[in-house]
Amino acid sequence: MSNLAKTFSSSLGRKLVMALTGLFLCTFLIVHLVGNLQLFKDDAGQAFNAYAYFMTHFTPIKVVSYLLYASIIVHAIYALIISAGNKKARPIAYAVQAGSQNSPWTSRNMGILGTILLVFIVVHMGDFWWKYHNDELPYAKYEISLDNPNDINVSELPYDADRLVHSEVTDVQAGKRTVISKDLYKIVNNSFQTWWYVLLYVIAMAALSFHLIHGFRSAFQTIGWNNSRFLPLVRFIGVWVFGVLIPLAFAAMPLYFFFK
């Protein structure tokens, strides 16, 4: 065990921790994005609220979510430790250093981009995750016609401590299914009516894009997986999927609610 501890406190071991936690966070982004696509569904948030319930109450997902929180913290702490070591490695800075002539901007600013993302994660979780878990949110009651699932009648119910977070009753005789769930959709919708809040999200997604354009490829280089056959694929996924597609799709969500 002490050998393993030594390995992870070496310069290479620390970078391995950064790479592995970083890649795990990348896989989370895919899941988070796919789930959040429910926001675009025109059903007054019924699918999204059902998804929010599933994500917070399904045990395997809860286990993975704790792994996720740990990864974010470890990724940030190791970044600090590594940066402090790097700073110590060059106590006297150059008067002139032409970094732009030998390396991409993203690679030299991972710390700043990561800090923006960390601030964003705290704000983001505080506004949705914390409120969903701890606040006395109103409930939404959806009456969905069994004949036509697009025929949804939605009404608001006040907070009630005894009410289940999510419940479903199907009444065949009345021809409708009644779903009552904690209304996270409403919180999301209300939050994104403020222009500066939307702007914060868009800026954070720009930071995410630049962070991952370098980070995704860099993780594979650190792990040592830079086989010439796979490298073009890794680069492509890093730039186009994690650098462009995912941040754009996430940024589209606040913009969708703002302009809806």
Binding site: L16, G85, A89, R90, V96, N102, S103, T222, G224
Partner: protein, 255 residues
């Protein structure tokens, strides 16, 4: 024929490793564009000596890009603005008349300044001594063709072996990391059959020494490979990482 140039030099002067250094401005006039950068400094030094001043100290030896002695950080870049050359191979035609040229030593905790622009790169020697060798036991000399090595592998090993240990990778890196140097020295042996018996012991020992010397970590910016006078690829870094993690997490060989 191009005309001679007048340049303003801002040179880092530092008495020794214990004192603080500072920039001193010198005027270099009538500089021939055909001079090498070091010859230009030679002329400046002759002037300084004639005036009774202390000449600017800088490392140099072969002056043909092989020895890895010269180590000047010129206008923000190790070995100056050109790619794939050392400072001694840099010609003054790469500069323009009336340019200001800032000359600094390699800046890294692990490379303390000896005097002015000369730094102590003993850290590299200690990393090499930790494992950058193959142990050859006595006995008859084997035939050169007795061990078949694929051409691509031999080429790759030779490319890694072109490292002259100048330290430009450390100088260029925003973290003063020595990963490119160490990985080239690990790779040149790890790729070849002769390097296999000590492969996993070597990588662990050399990385441990690298960390002990106080170099920074690798952010994969690629600045090292862009500035390396021998254009050594960061593929070597990935290879070293792979070997290191294999050694530490799978092989469990003694370091």
């Amino acid at each position: 024929m191009s005309k001679n140039m007048n340049l303003t030099l801002k040179v880092w002067r530092q008495k020794n490793s214990d004192t603080k250094g500072k920039f001193v401005t010198y005027q270099a006039d009538h500089v021939s564009p055909d001079m090498s950068f070091l010859e230009m400094l030679d002329v400046v030094n002759e002037d300084l000596t004639r005036k009774g001043d202390d000449p600017i100290h800088f490392d140099h030896d072969c002056r043909e890009g092989i020895c890895g002695s010269c180590s000047l950080h010129i206008n923000g870049r190790p070995h100056g603005p050109k790619q794939g050359i050392t400072t001694c191979q840099l010609h003054m035609r790469s500069f323009n008349n009336n340019d200001t040229v800032v000359i600094e030593p390699w800046r890294a905790e692990a490379f303390p300044v000896i005097k002015d622009l000369a730094v102590d790169r003993g850290a590299f020697d200690r990393i090499q001594a930790a494992g950058g060798f193959v142990s050859v036991n006595t006995g008859g000399v084997p035939d050169a063709n007795a061990i078949a090595i694929p051409k691509v592998i031999a080429d790759e090993a030779f490319n890694s072996a072109t490292c002259i240990g100048c330290g430009a990778c450390v100088a260029a890196c925003k973290n003063a990391s020595a990963m490119l140097f160490v990985s080239a020295k690990v790779s040149q042996l790890a790729l070849l059959p002769q390097g296999q018996p000590e492969r996993y012991r070597r990588v662990q020992a050399m990385v441990a020494q690298m960390d002990a010397e106080g170099f920074g970590s690798c952010t994969n910016t690629g600045a090292c490979e862009a500035e390396c006078p021998k254009e050594i690829s960061i593929t070597n870094i990935a290879r070293m990482n792979r070997d290191y993690f294999t050694a530490k997490l799978i092989k469990q060989e003694e370091a």
